[in-house]
């Protein structure tokens, strides 16, 4: 066995923070945490935080079906460079991840990737919102998160049935939780709208979609959660109204969790004035007041997790008008830096929202999200929170270059990433 020491850093996990070296073994576990530790190989963690690897509940890896934009291999590399050791892959592939065979294909492709690729599965067949996917088969195959992401389940009855059915499958995964994650968007209200409806959309002449398109589905799913008692996770919450409803639902003791995407607390609809569809995303970039509400929701824990909604698109597909280009933006390689730059949160809270809380939501605790102690899985991110850098799409590992942060100065950079005991990123460079 070969050993690796991360020396001179500050260990931060859910237990707190302390200065310590960490030694990991290449069979995948943490061997020791303490001071003055040595090993076969050493990496400098001076001025850095040594944290449990980051966990992203929401990425689009585009494979199978749209490999020109991203593959599991390239997406996982982008993730590892961003400090992530686990990402939850959304099912809007082609074919959709709505059957055990497609889930198995994604798993197989993820075997050689440099982070843990955790497939979610569709709630409905083909994500069409008409008939339930074979949820029990999928749970037996290891799926714990179901979502039709990209399309919210429009039909009230189908969503109620999905929640009732999911809550009947607990015996297939004792001690674990099945969660239904919703992309909240009432399509009859959002249809034909390409950005947030408000003063900017009106001025720019770009048809908008109102905040209420999101909020009505949040309201409905809170009601259905109350009705069924099933676990509901709210994806990429973007409006002040949504966040106050989630806050009230949590106060009422309902089993709901929520995530916010990095762009929803760092960018606003004013970005769209360039008409560059690099700023087109669903849910859309909202107003200053919404950005403030997302930040407040993260600060008080209403929003449990920071996700990226990493959504690669080819340059060609973005070299269209705002209306014609597909929605979505890159996020994995900039996520920590954006959060660290734009949020006024203590670093342990930030890491909670990016590591151990999403790990718990995805049922990955044990493997990801710490704690950093002897015997734990060696999935770690070594992050310099003060490193300043400027985003350049050309330098990103993603196959696509649709980052909205091009040319922006950010603070905080991932130095090393350890996945299953292996240093997959060293000094900001992917090792394979």
């Amino acid at each position: 066995m070969s050993t690796l020491a991360l020396r001179g850093g500050t260990v931060v996990d859910a237990q707190g923070s302390r200065r310590a070296d960490v030694v990991v073994g290449d069979e995948g576990t943490i061997l020791a945490v303490g001071s003055g530790l040595t090993a076969d190989h050493e990496l400098d963690a001076g001025d850095c935080i040594v944290a449990p690897g980051l966990v992203d509940l929401h990425v689009h890896l585009r494979q199978p079906g749209n490999e020109e934009a991203e593959t599991i291999d390239t997406g996982a590399r982008a993730a590892a460079l961003g400090g992530f050791t686990a990402v939850v892959a959304m099912p809007n592939t082609d074919p959709a991840m709505d059957s055990v065979s497609v889930i198995s294909e994604v798993r197989a492709l993820g075997e050689s990737a440099i982070c843990d690729v955790v497939p979610s599965a569709a709630i409905s067949v083909g994500r069409r919102g008409e008939a339930l996917a074979p949820m029990a088969e999928l749970v037996r195959a290891g799926v714990r998160i179901f979502t039709d992401d990209g399309a919210g389940v429009q039909d009230d009855k189908l969503m109620r049935t999905a929640l009732d059915y999911a809550s009947s499958l607990g015996h297939l995964c004792p001690g674990e939780t099945i969660v239904l994650a919703q992309h909240c968007e009432v399509e009859s209200l959002s249809k034909g709208g390409y950005m947030h409806e408000g003063s900017w959309s009106s001025w720019l002449g770009i048809p908008g979609q109102p905040s209420e398109a999101e909020e009505l589905m949040v309201m409905r799913d809170i009601a259905l959660c109350r009705l069924t008692g099933a676990r509901v996770h709210f994806q990429h919450m973007s409006t002040a109204g949504s966040i106050s409803m989630i806050r009230a639902a949590k106060a009422a003791g309902l089993p709901v969790t929520a995530e916010a995407a990095t762009h929803h607390f760092s960018l606003t609809d004013a970005c769209c004035q360039s008409y560059d569809p690099v700023y087109k995303v669903h849910p859309p970039l909202r107003t200053d007041a919404d950005v403030e509400a997302v930040r407040a929701g993260l600060a008080d824990g209403t929003i449990d997790a920071i996700a990226t909604d990493h959504a690669p698109h080819t340059s060609k597909s973005k070299q269209q008008t705002f209306a014609d280009a597909p929605p979505g933006m890159l996020g994995l390689e900039t996520a920590f830096a954006v959060a660290n730059t734009y949020l006024d949160m203590p670093v342990d809270s930030l890491l909670g929202a990016m590591s151990w809380r999403p790990a718990a939501i995805a049922g990955l605790n044990g493997a990801h999200g710490g704690p950093i102690e002897e015997g734990s899985m060696a999935n770690l991110a070594v992050i310099d929170p003060d490193a300043a850098w400027t985003v350049s799409a050309a330098e990103l590992a993603s196959r696509s270059s649709n980052t909205p942060y091009e040319g922006m100065a950010l603070r905080g950079r991932v130095r090393h990433t350890i996945y299953q005991g292996e240093a997959v990123v060293i000094d900001g460079v992917a090792q394979r």
Binding site: Q319, A323, P326
Partner: protein
């Protein structure tokens, strides 16, 4: 006026620019009335008319304007291509630009298309209408027409009536008339108004009767007739009665007030058929002035670009204006 490379929005122009363009338009109206209405101002220049959306009048108007300035106008009709199939907008524009053209007139169904296109070409880009966003040459023709009849537009009251929400003409004219000192009011049901008027130099009302006697211009917009399943009004008959310029409302306009419409008209929807033919309706004149205004825009954008002027020819061009 300031050097202008592209014309994308009425917001690109200040009042002096508009005055300059309208004065130049007056000279081109005179050119158009000549027996042989052609001057050599843009000889050797090529303008591409790139139309992603069907349009008869705007296209013919630009082609005529180019021809009267002795420029070559080439038409490119581009079928709508979906985002991931066929040529991207960028590829199309780069291909056309590689042919050595000096101006691109772009008509596109997507708001903001000319803002994208100007990043991909050295040619001057003229917005010939982008989605519901802007249609600046239509607005300039309307300002010219209104000024011709009403004199200076300061303090004049302009109602823009009907489907404001989906209208690039309404957006451009709201900015254009306001920059010329007029007071602009949108008149429409809430379903046909933009979601927000924050930052707009206009007011809004749902009641045409409230303003009809006070306005100097009643500008009617073409009502979109399709898409009945999510129609913004229950019936067109009801729309005509509540928000259209009926004969009874037209009778209440003050003397000298203009009736305007960008065309094509839906008679008996936004405007009573008979009203469109009244003497104070200047609708066909708007069309005629459209040619002269587009001559002015083409000349200012392309003819005055120093990087396109051959040595010694600037004086020729200046003299060719008159």
């Amino acid at each position: 006026m300031k050097a202008l490379r592209h014309l994308l929005s009425m917001d690109d122009l200040d009042r002096d620019d508009i005055d300059y363009l309208l004065d130049l338009t007056q000279r081109y109206v005179e050119v158009s009335e000549r027996k042989i209405p052609r001057i050599p101002a843009l000889r050797g220049k090529t303008v591409a008319l790139v139309f992603y959306e069907d349009s008869t009048r705007t296209r013919i108007s630009f082609a005529t304007a180019a021809s009267r300035l002795s420029a070559d106008a080439l038409g490119f009709d581009v079928k709508r291509s979906s985002a991931n199939k066929g040529e991207s907008l960028r590829d199309t524009i780069e291909t056309i630009s590689a042919m050595g053209i000096h101006g691109i007139v772009l008509r596109h169904f997507g708001a903001g298309a000319p803002w994208r296109v100007r990043e991909w070409t050295d040619a001057s880009v003229i917005n010939g209408g982008d989605g519901r966003n802007q249609h600046p040459t239509q607005s300039l023709a309307d300002l010219f027409t209104a000024r011709r009849h009403l004199g200076e537009l300061d303090g004049k009251r302009v109602a823009i009536v009907g489907d404001v929400k989906n209208s690039r003409v309404a957006r451009s004219n709201a900015i254009g008339f306001a920059k010329m000192g007029a007071e602009v009011v949108f008149v429409a049901p809430q379903t046909l108004l933009p979601a927000s008027l924050e930052g707009w130099p206009v007011s809004a009302t749902h009641n045409l009767d409230e303003v009809v006697e006070e306005i100097d211009v009643c500008y009617l917009l073409r009502m979109q007739l399709e898409r009945q399943h999510d129609a913004p009004v229950p019936t067109l008959r009801e729309f005509h009665h509540e928000f259209g310029l009926t004969a009874a409302r037209a009778d209440r306009l003050k003397d000298g007030a203009l009736i305007m419409h960008p065309g094509p008209m839906n008679r008996d929807v936004e405007i009573a058929g008979e009203v469109a033919d009244r003497p104070n309706a200047v609708i066909t004149e708007q069309v005629a002035n459209g040619v002269a205004v587009r001559m002015a825009v083409l000349f200012v954008l392309i003819g005055s670009r120093l990087d396109l002027v051959e040595e010694g020819s600037l004086a020729d061009q200046e003299s060719a204006v008159a």
